[in-house]
């Protein structure tokens, strides 16, 4: 019998070998592979520190990851201190300066990062003890040096200032506040004021309160044995003192009973950020998690063939990409769909996002599309397993969230069982366009008109960068662009005093890339200007306009200005343009009221003959110009003015801050001289 079977197989094999391969047939996949998810070991030190060990000896490296399992903290008036405390751990210890820590980590080719909820780093196995010694020092003896605190505060404030004119940052802040509410830790927004209030003591107290072994996990991954792990854990973390750690609970954020339409303003925006969001009870590893994530991938996972991308990107070309996410979180989960779209298409694009969400609930998805999405998810899951850190994350999640031990081991099986009916069920359960926050950030005046269609009762709320409601101050009938500009002229000294100025020489200074730059500006009536930037005695650039011709001079040579550049120079060069708006062909429009650095302002849009425009903000109380926003290509330049001082009867701002993308430049004026009789040759 055996022999017969054998020869039969042999015959079959020869037949196969002899047959011509039909290359037009795409090979079918083999049976789904078994996924072996690496095991982990868990032990606990006497001080309560839980240690997870994932052995993976493929490469001689070890990754150490300390993770605090603590409840999020409400920061209140000092929002930002928690993350700053985390950053500061690595900024100096009682026995090492920051530079010494950097040098020691560099020397062994390692990396070390600290944050509010942990410390991590990786290192060649042979240097693991050197590394742990530093990690131990950073964990147990951080010194929170005052100068590092101040340095970080400065960096944070610069970052806030730079992000103020970024529509995505505005949208993200507004979303935090409207989705989670101001009394929820996820609803807190950082501000310059909150950063200013942070103190070294506050950071140290946070560290002393929450960095305790009994609420922490230490994960050791890579080329390490259990025995070595036990020895290292004991040696470097055994002396860490345990203590009580406060727990915090927060009310589940409430879901809207009807769509809430919220807009935010970004002056001069040509694009809008749109977002649909709401809070969800959606814990990590909940029974719906896998089915719901397939549903989300169909709707708006990264692929170009997702529903949102197929509609908004491929079909209508409203955007470069539209995405949705379903975020699992122990405290509060959330749904979010967003895209950056052409300004004119803002409401249509939003309509399509809401349509796609509804469509998912109303109709079952084509099984073939679901198969493809499942394949993609399975493939990316399998590829992620190559990183031992993934196994460590799995282990940590299982421990932290109390998931079944086989949660990840059965992931692919559960994924393969998801059906079209499941997807529809998940859509019905988790997609709630009728309870969502419908957010758009862009040109608020336009948005307030077009976004109203999504509101059941005609309410459109406006929020500012900090997530504070903007009071709808109706513009009183007696306020016009002309009034605002006239009170500005009056505030800085009046027409008469301004006309007395025949020439002006202004010296200012700034620091760029650690270098002192001097800016000298000379102007002469009616429209001559010379702007010179110098470093030391060396002239970096010089721009001149003599009333007719303009040039840019640099060490690399001269460039004659033409066309639009020359036109803008002509206007730029005009002394007191506000006195001659009509003559210069500048049209003005009062676009509304607003808030700049805590001051109530009127905003006036000035449109140049070339079509470019700036939006200037004038303090409602003092009449002074406090901000100007212009668009340069894709970049928005925001300049704020302050420290007005009188020189010969006219007020000039002695301080201005320019932000362009993520760069912020502070310019301080050192001297202003009036009517010194500047020679015409300066402007040639």
């Amino acid at each position: 019998m055996k022999r017969i079977v054998f020869s039969f197989i042999l015959l079959l094999l020869t037949l196969c070998a002899g047959a011509q391969l039909d290359r037009s047939v795409r090979p079918k996949p083999g049976p789904a592979p078994e996924i072996q998810i690496g095991d982990y070991e868990l032990f606990t030190l006497d001080n309560g520190l839980k240690v997870i060990v994932v052995e993976n000896h493929k490469i001689p490296k070890v990754t150490y990851h300390l993770s605090l399992d603590i409840d999020p903290v409400m920061e209140g008036e000092q929002a930002g201190y928690v993350s700053m405390a985390g950053n500061l751990l690595r900024a100096g210890t009682t026995s090492r300066s920051k530079a010494e820590i950097d040098e020691a980590i560099d020397f062994i080719g390692a990396s070390l990062n600290t944050r509010a909820t942990g410390i991590s780093g990786s290192v060649l196995k042979k240097f693991s003890d050197n590394f742990l010694e530093i990690m131990n020092d950073v964990l147990l003896h951080p010194s929170f040096p005052e100068e590092e605190v101040n340095k970080l505060k400065k960096q944070h404030i610069s970052a806030i200032q730079a992000s103020k004119s970024d529509a995505s940052s505005i949208a993200s802040n507004i979303n935090s506040v409207v989705t989670f509410g101001a009394t929820h830790p996820y609803g807190e927004v950082l501000s310059e004021t909150s950063i200013e209030k942070i103190t070294r003591d506050l950071c140290q107290t946070y560290y002393q309160t929450y960095f305790k072994p009994n609420t922490a996990y230490l994960i050791m991954v890579g080329d390490i044995t259990l025995k070595e792990a036990k020895r290292q854990a004991e040696q470097y973390f055994g002396s860490w003192q345990k203590g009580d750690v406060p727990s915090h609970s927060y009310d589940e954020p409430a879901l809207n009973t009807r769509p809430r339409v919220v807009i935010g303003n970004r002056d001069g925006a040509v694009q809008s950020v749109i977002m649909v969001s709401y809070p969800l009870v959606f814990k990590p590893g909940n029974p719906d998690a896998i089915k719901a994530s397939v549903m989300n991938s169909v709707l708006g996972g990264g692929s170009l063939s997702s529903r949102l991308n197929a509609n908004l990107r491929e079909d209508k070309a409203f955007t470069y990409g539209a995405y949705s996410s379903l975020n699992a979180d122990k405290l509060t989960g959330s749904f979010n769909a967003s895209a950056e779209v052409k300004g004119a298409a803002t409401d249509t694009a939003m309509q399509e996002v809401l349509y796609e969400m509804k469509h998912m609930k109303d109709e079952t998805v084509d099984p073939e599309m679901i198969e493809q999405v499942k394949n993609r998810m399975a493939g990316s899951f399998a590829r992620s397993l190559e990183r031992p850190e993934t196994i460590a994350d799995f282990a940590l999640n299982i421990e932290k969230y109390g998931l079944p031990q086989d949660y990840y081991a059965t992931y692919l099986k559960k994924l393969s069982q998801v059906t079209p009916a499941d997807i529809q069920e998940m859509a019905r359960k988790y997609l709630k366009p009728e309870n969502a926050n419908i957010i758009a950030v862009g040109d608020a005046r336009e948005l307030s008109k077009i976004m109203v269609r999504f509101s059941k009762d005609g309410t459109v709320e406006e929020f500012d960068y900090y997530g504070n409601p903007v009071k709808k101050s109706e513009i009183p009938a007696d306020i016009t662009a002309n009034n605002v500009i006239n009170s500005y002229i009056k505030a800085i000294g009046g027409r008469e005093n301004l006309l007395k100025v025949k020439d002006i020489r202004m010296i200012s200074g700034t620091v760029m890339q650690g270098m002192n730059i001097e800016i000298g500006i000379s102007r002469k009536a009616p429209n001559k200007i010379c702007v010179e930037t110098k470093m030391g005695d060396q002239v970096l650039t010089k721009q001149v306009f003599d009333g007719v011709k303009g040039k840019v001079k640099s060490p690399m040579g001269d460039q004659e200005l033409t066309g639009n550049e020359l036109e803008s120079m002509r206007i730029e060069a005009t002394l007191n343009p506000e006195l001659n708006l009509d003559k210069l062909g500048i049209t003005t429009e009062l676009t509304g009221a607003g808030d700049v650095n805590g001051k109530k302002v009127w905003k006036v849009k000035m449109t140049m003959p070339s079509g470019t425009s700036s939006t200037d903000a004038y303090d409602q109380d003092t009449g002074l110009k406090v901000q100007s926003v212009t668009q340069q290509g894709q970049m928005t330049v925001t300049t704020t003015y302050s420290d007005y001082r009188e020189v010969e009867g006219v007020l000039y701002p002695f301080k201005s801050v320019q932000s362009l993308g993520s760069q912020v430049v502070e310019i301080e004026t050192k001297s202003i001289e009036i009517n010194t009789g500047i020679d015409d040759s300066v402007f040639e």
Partner: protein, 446 residues
Amino acid sequence: MKKLLFLLFVFCMSFPGRYAHAEEIDFKEFDLSNGLHVIVHEDHSVPIVVVSLMYHVGSKNENPERTGFAHFFEHLMFEGTKHIKRFEYDKIVENAGGTLNANTSNDRTYYYEILPSNQLELGLWLESERMLHARVDSLGIATQKGVVIEEKKQNYDNRPYGSLLPEILRRAFTKHPYQWATIGDADHIRAAKDEEFKEFYDSFYVPNNAVLILAGDVKFNEAKKLTEKYFGDIPSSEGEIYRPEVVEEVKYEEIRDTVYDNIQLPAVIQAYHIPAMGTDDFYAVEMLSQLLASGQSSRLYKSLVDEQQLALEVAAIPLPFEDPGLVITLALPNVGLDCRDLENAMDQEIENVQNNLIPQKEFQKLKNQVENQIVTQNATLANRASTLAENYTYFKDANRINTDLDRYLAVTREDLQRVANDYFRKNNRVVLYYLPQSSRNESSNE
């Protein structure tokens, strides 16, 4: 600024890593009768498989009148095949749960898929279709001509410093085909007739000019059987495959020039001739480059950026070429600084290495960093596959993947000093000043 420098790196490093692994990587090799070399690296820890093919053809194999062909094919190979409809190739891979990509250098062209391991056969079918049945037809050629010429405009002509590599290469090499970059000349691509592409395909996309790598959750016997099934009957080419045997003579004269580009910040670029990748001295040059410009504690960074504040960024990049190539050092001056001052400061750091042995501790740091880098780089299957492919393609020795680290660690402090003297000679280099377009008007006015 970081972004800008990153772009420069991307240009110079059109390669995946080629570093070794501290632990032995097992693999088996065999040849099909048509000359296709196959390397199988089994690693069953994760159920994925890398299917990749490296063709030993790059821009250096091109006709000087038809540059850009190798890179053009990288695009054409995604057009589809006899049995795969246009634009379906990517989708088949993605819907099977995989990812794919390709890249071209001066020496070779590389295609890969990373698939769930039960899709191994699909991967082999896809790549065999590419080798046997690629759509080298007028529709695909016309489409990709448009795409490639647009890519050249975007990435080389209009991107700041985009022309850097082509500008260096054409001055550094007078005989060797390294004198043109992989993107080639748009006019050559435009002028090329369909038959010429067909001819290129028939000469270079043949089993006897390729190495197939199967890495990951794959069994050797099955790999062998399936490779035979999909590649066994693909005919090999007859006659010699064109490989230029041009030797660029040793240089004893500095070449100096200025390039005006659409940039705001100037750049100083020095390109020194160095030996081929894989030679002992190449390893030393790589470590020397690391000493000069890798990380904030490197020599050029510390001196030029931190202390003297002459430069915004610095870099030192050895080009990993099969034949003798170049190491490029570059710096972007701080606003308003003279390029010449910056260059002198760069030269001073080179002279320092030429005249003084580097301190023991700094050398140890260098070795630690190299080791960490190499170990980390070969952690993924994808990187291991491409390293195996390159080592076979260039050296016919895939096992270099296991010996590379030793080659780095064999480099001594004296070697660093020696290669600094042998290759980082002023009369062995091309120096380019990249200046803003606006300054060109100045010089023509005068």
